[in-house]
Symmetry: C2
Amino acid sequence: MGKPSEQRKQEIIDATLDLAASLGVKKVTTQAIADHVGIAQPTVFRHFKTRDAIFVAAISSIGEGLFRNLAAFFSGTGPADERLHQLVRAQLRFISQKRGLPRLLFSDRLHLESPLLKQAVQKIMNGYTQQVSRMIREGQAAGLMRQSLDADESAWLVAAMIQGLVMRWSIFDFDFDLAAEAEPLWGFIAAALLVEKGG
Amino acid sequence: MGKPSEQRKQEIIDATLDLAASLGVKKVTTQAIADHVGIAQPTVFRHFKTRDAIFVAAISSIGEGLFRNLAAFFSGTGPADERLHQLVRAQLRFISQKRGLPRLLFSDRLHLESPLLKQAVQKIMNGYTQQVSRMIREGQAAGLMRQSLDADESAWLVAAMIQGLVMRWSIFDFDFDLAAEAEPLWGFIAAALLVEKGG
DNA sequence: TATAATTGCAAGCAATTACTCACTTTTATA
DNA sequence: TATAAAAGTGAGTAATTGCTTGCAATTATA
């Protein structure tokens, strides 16, 4: 034994997300993590100072993965509406493979207990909506999207829809195909944002 | 002492929601509830068999309050779009006074631990979207709303937007006026749902 | 007023769990 | 190969916390 720390850290993060997905955050004890990784429980604390630090690292890990996954659409060159459509699709596909995310996102650990964790999430959400807002302004500048809607507000609402969708997915125990919701979701967003194509 | 049980039950529910709003669900211990009500901790168990039963009762209490509050808009007589607008406004106003709600809704207690609590929430969500879906179909029948959008899907997405909004409100520590978000939210929903008024 | 049910409490149990400590083994490096 | 740092462990601790129990006070009712 005695793996390099970075590797073990990632194993611990992966175990945390796996366990959160299947058992819920509360049952992700340091013992459960250790068992899942195959190390002793005190060893977990060799790699993370506290249990909360593990959750923060897990959220950050997903956040980075998300941005890596969506970067192409944020800064692509095609028309803004098509890129937004693809963004929504890619995002739901990504999240549908990360069931641990809603479990962490909707945990009460997040919602008052751990300021650090909350800050990490706030940062991700702010970064995300800024990018979407920029895309909407591009769409407006290109005459593709309604001038009447405020870009920032609309970006927040698009984000809110996705969050609400993910929340329903989690509350209903992942019992529908999240990625498949991309099309009706885009139908709604397009109806709201895009200017009517005159016949 | 020795109040009638129904009164004490309500006091316990109110205390639970108060504490959840200010401290987060995890810190709502039976001891904290007892202190807040002004009774001894074991006395709590005279009125609720388990701690979870308290949360279920609290969620149900809010659910009933919500439907009581929105019933008029669900079954009103005016045009569907105006009623939906008012519904959104009333709903956000109602929720903005119930900060304990998102704390419970986004607690990990809900998200795998307590099937009863989850069922209670699923029931409320289903009932809500059914009503909204019906309103949208009325709007479509009256020629006010786009035929191209599926009423059920749209109802879920409207609900998702509100949930996402409430979630942001909670993550950002209630630091913006939730009720004031009703107008931009309606602007977006209206753009999506309503048929363009031909000039 | 006698009786039974309800509401109340102090004390404590049993289980959980994040985290520490003393110590050994492995890995890296000079 | 000698040495130090890193990674690992078994055993244990301290704190929390949902819930039980035995008993007293209150309330309702006959």
